[in-house]
């Protein structure tokens, strides 16, 4: 009986080449793929929005967003993804679908999206300029503050976009969850958009 290895492969495994890209010099844009996460779609059952909110509060210690926001809890980020629904983004399996099933059993339906999306963080002095080529959302600091989120589209493809905490350099950080099967294609589109500003490409495994 053969033993099998179950190697996880990111959809960007081949397309992502860590290092500099585009115009040389200081990179205006950093693109970092963040791998290995759990992502669970939580959708309230009919008439159960309040129950779902309570369950979320109990589980995460923070209220689930019911407007387009991303809320950081101690060990997860709750990202609004539509009316009566949000995504739970977490690491290390603590909030994987089996774990959440019980917490929301009476109030929400869960769908595992951990493998359905690729998470890319965009930062740098030119991050907004570059994202303006891809997104129709107004990312001005006043219009899209820290924690703002949007269910929107890039290149006619659905994405979830939110602004995380500013980076250590004081620059804004934008996070993008893109559909896994479109990821490679979108990645090339992002590189094209960013190339003129110089890009620093990386990925993080945890």
């Amino acid at each position: 009986m053969a033993e099998f290895s179950w190697e996880v492969r990111s959809p960007l495994e081949r397309a992502l080449v860590a290092g500099p890209f585009g115009t040389r010099g200081d990179a205006g844009v950093s693109l970092t793929e963040i791998r290995n996460f759990d992502l669970i779609q939580v959708m309230a059952r009919r008439s159960k929005a309040a129950h779902m909110a309570e369950a979320a509060k109990g589980r995460f210690g923070v209220p689930a967003p019911d407007t387009p926001r991303a809320v950081d809890a101690a060990d997860a980020t709750l990202i609004w993804s539509g009316p009566d629904q949000f995504l739970v983004l977490s690491k290390s399996g603590k909030h994987a679908i089996e774990a959440l099933g019980q917490a929301f059993a009476a109030s929400a339906s869960l769908s595992d999206q951990s493998h359905a999306r690729v998470l890319i963080s965009v930062s740098g002095t030119k991050a907004r300029t570059m994202l303006a080529k891809l997104s129709s959302i107004d990312l001005h600091p006043d219009a899209f503050s820290i924690g703002a989120a949007a269910a929107t589209s890039i290149d006619h493809t659905s994405v979830t976009l939110w602004r995380g905490t500013d980076g250590p350099d004081g620059q804004a950080v934008f996070n993008l969850l893109v559909l896994a099967t479109f990821a490679e294609s979108l990645w090339h589109t992002m590189l094209d958009a960013a190339a003129e500003y110089g890009v620093a490409i990386a990925h993080s495994e945890a």
């Binding site: 959708m43 309230a44 059952r45 009919r46 008439s47 159960k48 929005a49 309040a50 129950h51 779902m52 387009p68 993804s81 539509g82 009316p83 009566d84 129709s136 949007a150 269910a151 929107t152 589209s153 006619h156 659905s158």
Partner: protein, 91 residues
């Protein structure tokens, strides 16, 4: 054109998909063929304010009822479909 999604805020046209006249309600199962024919084939096509179904396909996937003037494209009202955000209903 920009539509103010009641859930997402103002978004550009490219995020939405159009269906059309939002006035007719799907007839009951026993309504008969004439009623269903009207529902399927006869729609408002007014030159002026019209109530329409739009889908926020490139956003939160909510179906919306949009009141829009077909002469000017001006949008005067947007509300969610009955079942969009309905988890809050009847709680």
């Amino acid at each position: 054109m920009r539509i103010v999604c009641p859930f997402c805020g103002e978004r550009e046209l490219g995020e939405f998909t159009y269906l059309g006249d939002a006035k007719p309600a799907r007839p009951a199962a026993d309504a008969g063929e004439d009623a269903v024919f009207d529902y399927v084939y006869l729609r408002d096509n007014v030159a002026g304010a019209m109530s329409e179904h739009w889908y926020h396909s490139g956003g939160c996937r909510a179906w919306l009822k949009v009141t829009r003037n077909t002469l000017t494209h001006e949008i005067s009202a947007v509300e969610p479909a009955a079942g969009a955000g309905a988890a809050k209903v009847g709680a």
